[in-house]
Symmetry: C2
Subunit: 357 residues, 2 copies
């Protein structure tokens, strides 16, 4: 098992220190063997810890007097990283002082800093951002990339499929996760050249421990019959946000419909347990914690607007991936897979996306 | 006003002639001045018309003994078009026998056949598929392209913006529709080169009668503060299906939640009017009828799985666009706009996408 210590960027996120520290405290109660490095303003962190003596006893504060801002471009963030709460959280993973880093800050900055500090695993050209989404079945579905890479070639997509499958094996316990490429149709002739070429490679790669069966359309992501949905960061980000927005749209409609008549209001009160269940199932906090896959270390991104409960879920994702040693598993899969990786060696490796992208 | 006659491909769609004819009959009741050309198997159409004497008196049957199949590639469909119900419906528009064609058949085939028969408007390189989506406000939002063009350059996106705005003016009555490019963030540095270049052009085009203000993310499509969402066909198709799938996901969850306890069932019955309103608002039939914009004529695509009511809505879209003379309006906008169109003359014009795309 990897080092049970998690570095938390206490300054990231819309709500600041209080929420990050409370989230860590909640997570600590669920994962008692973990302890924490809290990066950020010492005085503010100490004040926040006063309400959480359990965490205070299991946390070390590293004072950082600077932060990465939401508007910092990745290249600026890279130059400024040293001494910031985000930069130092990732640096702690690099130095082996923590097994994982969690931040609710600027996603592009976190990606750039993590990639430069931790480097990609051998055989991986680019890391990808992966998250768990709810389905109609018990099991969540993993989707990647969610925006780390605006444009992807077939090789990137194949590598994402392998990394997503490794993550899915931990989450589902399934030996051969059901992996599909996101596309605009399920017929073989549909989609871009990149998607078609990636599909061909995954079909040919019969030794891979994945159940690959072509394409999935965006309306089937949540049906519960797919474990990993692979796509480029542009489409993945659009699919993820469209799903979130549409779910919110329906629940907003529902609220206004229920508020529109006395009879509906009564109905709503009587059926409260059902609507609470719905609310719980759709609450983004319950699915908080996107993972950068493909790095030498675990980095988890929490939603900027997550509540303490959401932050706790993001920290729990980091804890679980450390307990199950995700990085070692991906490394092992990669070693076994060799030529299916389609890696081009070092040409693209560890290059940072230009800010213009 | 254009010719008030609509050509209906009576053989397209999963449900076949009965649903298409019933849909036309329903639409006819709402738009009494329209009459119809029904393309397809004469015996089947005559049988279906027996239940709809109103439509029978306002319809002419053109017997076609062949159909375009769901699995036909666009290039195959083009070769086979003549004499098929779909091909003849579009040909009727070309010959001026009808103002619009409606089909529930193979989308790629309908696109290819329409483009070759009707040609794109001067200044338009490629037609785009546009549909109305529900929002939290009274007014629907138009999104395009929804899958006609897998890959688009900046010029295509600018032309889509102009065509979408013309459609929106008819639907909303708004002189300067609020147009946004779909992107993975609202900051100027986000997105692909194509999206950024298109944004720059639309920002510079101050004489355009549109309210352009950069980007919209996929979770904001349904909020009701945007009239036209412009994107390439790959992302647009993914966004559209993600929205549909997520809405269905939430309503399925809701159904199972309400079915899970006696108390919830009672609540559900009491609040039935609210949930009926929701069902009505989200029913895809109520938003059926996607339009191919940018052609010399109106072509409307009905969902393959639409009910008669859905088909009626698709026919009503065609009727409305004829009444308001959409094609003349787009032509007029294009004439006024000149250099903002970024057209490259005839190089790409009227080229059919290869089947491999």
């Amino acid at each position: 098992m990897s080092l049970p210590r998690i570095a938390v960027d206490a300054m990231g996120g819309d709500e600041g220190v209080r929420v990050m520290v409370e989230g860590a405290a909640l997570a600590r109660r669920r994962h008692e063997k973990f302890n924490f490095l809290l990066m950020g303003d010492r005085a503010q962190i100490e004040r926040a810890l006063e309400s959480h003596p359990g965490l205070a006893g299991a946390a070390e504060i590293r004072h950082c007097d600077r932060t990465i801002e939401g508007e910092d471009k990745p290249s600026q963030a890279l130059r400024r990283a040293k001494g910031t709460s985000m930069g130092e959280a990732v640096a702690a993973v690099k130095r082996g002082e923590a097994g994982a880093a969690v931040s609710a800050g600027n996603t592009g900055a976190l990606m750039a800093i993590s990639k430069v500090a931790l480097r990609t695993l051998p055989g991986i050209d680019r890391p990808a951002l992966a998250a768990l989404l709810p389905t109609l079945e018990e099991q969540d579905v993993i989707m990647l990339d969610l925006g780390a890479n605006t444009e992807c070639d077939a090789r990137n997509l194949v590598q994402f499929a392998i990394m997503g499958a490794a993550y899915s094996r931990i989450v589902t316990g399934r030996e051969r996760p059901r992996v599909r490429l996101l596309n605009i149709g399920t017929e073989a002739i549909k989609g871009t050249d990149e998607v078609q070429e990636a599909a061909q490679h995954l079909r040919d790669a019969s030794t891979l421990a994945i159940d690959f069966d072509g394409f999935v359309e965006a309306d089937k992501i949540n049906r519960g019959d797919v474990d990993v949905v692979v796509t480029d960061g542009f489409s993945g980000n659009i699919a993820l946000k469209a799903i979130e927005g549409s779910a919110r749209f329906v629940t907003d409609l529902l609220k206004s419909a229920f508020a529109s008549s006395f009879r509906s209001k009564v109905g709503f009160l009587v059926s409260r347990p059902a609507t609470e269940l719905l609310r719980h199932h759709l609450d983004p906090d319950n699915h908080n914690g996107a993972v950068f896959l493909g790095l030498n270390g675990v980095v988890v991104k929490s939603h900027g607007s997550a509540t303490a409960n959401g932050v706790a879920n993001a920290v729990a994702v980091a804890a679980r991936l450390l307990e199950e040693d995700l990085t070692a598993r991906i490394r092992q899969d990669l070693a076994e897979l060799g030529d299916h990786l389609m890696t081009n060696g070092s040409a693209n490796n560890n290059k940072i996306e230009s800010d213009a992208k």
